[in-house]
Symmetry: C2
DNA sequence: ATAAACTCTATAACAACTATAGAGTCAATC
DNA sequence: GATTGACTCTATAGTTGTTATAGAGTTTAT
């Protein structure tokens, strides 16, 4: 299987696959006589694993760590858990941050009722005022 | 006022201020005899405006647009409103996305109860399985 | 005169891709 | 056998909003 087919099968772009190889998320593929990368089913599996992780916003270094653990099946999985906990924390922190932001944005948006000139625009006036101290 | 003082007063780093100048968010500062940038109170105001916008996650192009509108006080402020609406939409979309993500992460996290070996780790097993189709 | 603290420009790094350019490979057609 | 088209290769730059350098120049104080 050449890289184009792997791309179709997995839904990862060709460049992304090459990028993952350069970043050592997948092993360097064997090459054909004409220097084309060649892949097998194992590559499909691994790429889908990576894609799944990415869909959960895990970073490439985090995924690299998970892949390494996956390769040493005897190890304890405390490391995996710690990583997941930290990652979940960060996601939740980001949600809180965006939620606070959203409230401020909606409040700001309410301060303009269209059809005004910029001069009287509550949005711009509020943006010009000293920002709300936000931690 | 030189750039270091402006930085202290506004809380923007020196590099950030130079960056904003390059990106035309603030006008090119006048220079001293020794080629140092010189600022006045208006620069402080404008930088605080930008900082306030950034704290709301408005992008630099968006801020550039707001600043331009601010400079033409006769214009209608429909543009401002449209931008804010779009921005709010995006923030809310991101919140939803992260919330869904968070649920999946927590579910995944529950599939491992520590002290197991990686081989039996529910997290890694689930990550290896075909991802949940997520729109 | 010299040192410390500041400023200048230009450039690279960050994350995770995406998009080019320019060259090479392969299969099929004429 | 030459040409076309689809594919692949490497290398490089762009995305976003900073942050961090390097190496040089300026100002202020001692
Ligand atoms: Zn993470
Ligand atoms: Zn308005
Ligand atoms: Zn926006
Ligand atoms: Zn586990």
């Amino acid at each position: 299987m050449k890289i184009g087919e792997l791309s179709k099968v997995t839904g990862c772009s060709v460049q992304t696959i090459r990028h993952y190889e350069k970043e050592h998320l997948i092993a360097s593929a064997e090459r054909s006589e004409g220097n084309f990368r060649l892949y097998d089913e194992a590559a499909v599996e691994q790429l889908l694993f990576i894609k799944h992780c990415r869909s959960l916003d895990l970073s490439l270094p985090e995924i690299r760590q998970l892949l390494a653990l996956n390769r040493s099946p005897g190890a304890q999985c405390d490391d995996v858990n710690r990583m997941m906990d930290r990652h979940i924390e960060q996601v939740e922190a980001r949600i809180q941050e965006l939620t606070r932001l959203n409230e401020q944005l909606r409040m700001l948006r309410r301060s303009c009722s269209n059809r005004r000139t910029v001069e009287q625009c509550g949005i711009l006036r509020n943006l010009s005022a000293t920002p709300v101290s936000s931690g």
